[in-house]
Symmetry: C2
Subunit: 124 residues, 2 copies
């Protein structure tokens, strides 16, 4: 079975609340993360919530990279959805873990769009 | 245990390729889906791929709603990430299923940001 997309759900706990509440830090980190895997950035949408929290969604030609932060809980949810086989998600995980000072990270990979392979005829 | 976010991963198979390749249809459907659950739209990013495919990401105050389509496979991946308990995801699923003529839909709900509750003291 082939998957059209790979979707990595990243949970970052015990982060620096200050980093998670800085729109500038979060946005720069997500753009750097996209660049670290040579993604082609199409659009960056960002929003600062009051009093706390930031959302940034980076639309890339290979799908998207998003983050929503809860500084009051030291938590951020990051999604890396790609349709490229050549990207190395671990580079992104390491980069954002360091940027936000996360002491505990969990990840889950979900294969999106499971398409049955086209069976070719066999002469055997 | 409490979750800060609810993330619904929706797989739409056997869709109408024409609908999936129309930026206008896909974008309007995603905005309608956001409105159907009374989400507050912050930003809509959209992109048409050549020759086939569309990406739309709707940033909402409650997190995000995204879609990536593969018309050549009749498939679309939709994500509904919310931090609101009052939203009814089934409304969104029904709406997009109908808009794209999908004959097979699977969903997976992931709880994001599992935070242990603060235990209050007991006098017992």
């Amino acid at each position: 079975l082939n998957a059209l997309g790979k979707h990595l759900l990243i949970e970052l706990y015990d982060c620096s609340p200050g980093a998670l509440d800085s729109l500038e830090t979060v946005s720069a980190t997500m753009v750097e993360a996209a660049n670290s895997v040579s993604a082609t950035i199409i659009n960056v949408a960002e929003h600062k919530f009051q009093p706390l929290g930031v959302s940034v969604v980076v639309m890339i030609a290979e799908s998207h990279l998003s983050i929503h932060t809860w500084p009051e809980h030291g938590y951020a949810a990051v999604d890396l959805f790609t349709c490229s086989d050549t990207m190395s998600p671990s580079v992104v995980v390491d980069l954002i873990r360091e940027a936000f000072g996360s002491k505990r990270v969990t990840t889950m990979e979900v294969h999106r769009g499971i398409i049955a392979p086209v069976l070719t005829g066999s002469s055997a």
